[in-house]
Symmetry: C2
Subunit: 166 residues, 2 copies
Amino acid sequence: MPSNGLDPIDRKILAELQADGRMTNVELAKRVGISAPPCLRRVRTLEEQGFIKGYHADVDARSLGFEVQVFVMVGLHSQAKDDLTAFEDQCRSWPLVRECHMLNGEVDFLLKCTAPDLSSFQTFLTDELLTTANVESVKTSLVIQEAKDVPGVPFDVLEARLQKTA
Amino acid sequence: MPSNGLDPIDRKILAELQADGRMTNVELAKRVGISAPPCLRRVRTLEEQGFIKGYHADVDARSLGFEVQVFVMVGLHSQAKDDLTAFEDQCRSWPLVRECHMLNGEVDFLLKCTAPDLSSFQTFLTDELLTTANVESVKTSLVIQEAKDVPGVPFDVLEARLQKTA
DNA sequence: GGTGAAACTTGGGACAG
DNA sequence: CTGTCCCAAGTTTCACC
C-alpha cells in the first residue's frame, strides 16, 4: 500500500521540487540518485497526473506593499447547495480573497485576505463582502504576526507513515 | 511614490514568476519586453533583495495522501512576550502545522494543519498541542471543501492602486 | 533505467546610449 | 545604470539501447 502508485524516487522528486522549484533537472537527478532523462520523464508524468499543479515564485507580500492580512469568518443565511456555490464563485472573483475554505461548525467559510492597507480592506469589506446576497454574519481577525508559513505538504510525516505500514 | 523602488518591469517579472516559477529566462524576458541578460540581472537582484523568497512546486496534497486540513484556534493562558515566542517556536517544530498566525481579538493564534487522515491529526491534537504548556483553549474546524486557494499576492490590486497615486 | 547528441538556455564579457 | 549583441559552458530533451 504505497502512497499513490508513487515510488520513493517520485516522492523524493516531489519533496525536492517543493523545497526548490527552480532546481535544474540535472541537479534534481543527482539528488534523487538517477540520471537526468528518466528524472525529467518522471517530472513530466507527475505534472501530467496532477501531482504537481504548478510552480510559483514565493513573493514577499510585505515588501511589495501588502501590509495587511486578514482572516474573515463568514456565515451564510442559506446553506443550500446553489447558495454555497454562488458564494464560492463570488470569492473566486475577488482578488483580495486568496483562500476560501468551507468549514464545519458554526461558521460556514473562512477567507484569507491580502490587502495593501487597512483602508482598502475596509472598502472591500463594506462595499463588496457585506453587500453580497446571502451573507449573514462576518467576523474579521487581523493577522498581527506571521509566525510560520510553510508552503506545501509535510513529506516527513508521509514518509514516517509509509514506514509504519511497510 | 512607486511600489518599493520597483519599476513596472520588475513588478511584471514578479507577477510572471509568481504565476509560473519555472519559466525560462528567455521566455520571461520576452513577456516583460526586454532582452534576456538584463532580465536575469533583475531577477537576481529581486532575489537578493528578498522580493523573491524562493520557488516551490505546488504539490497536490489530496492525491499525495493528505486528506484532511484543519484550522485550529488557540488561546493561551499567558500572553507575555516570552510565552508567545515559546508557542511560536513550538509551532515551527510541528510539521503538521503549516501556518501559524498571531491574531487580534479573542483568539491568540490561528493554525492551519495538514494531515494524512483524521486519526493522525487527532494524535497530534491530544498528544502534542493539548499537552503544550500555556495552551488554554483549542477549537478545531475541519475544512470540508477548498473553494479557492491561490498562492501569492494579487498584483492586479497593486497595479490598480499605483494607477490612482500616479 | 542509462547513453550520446542536437537544440536550447544560462550567464558572462564587451560595448553603445 | 540599463539595454543589446555575442559566445562558451551547461541544460534540456530527443532517439535509441
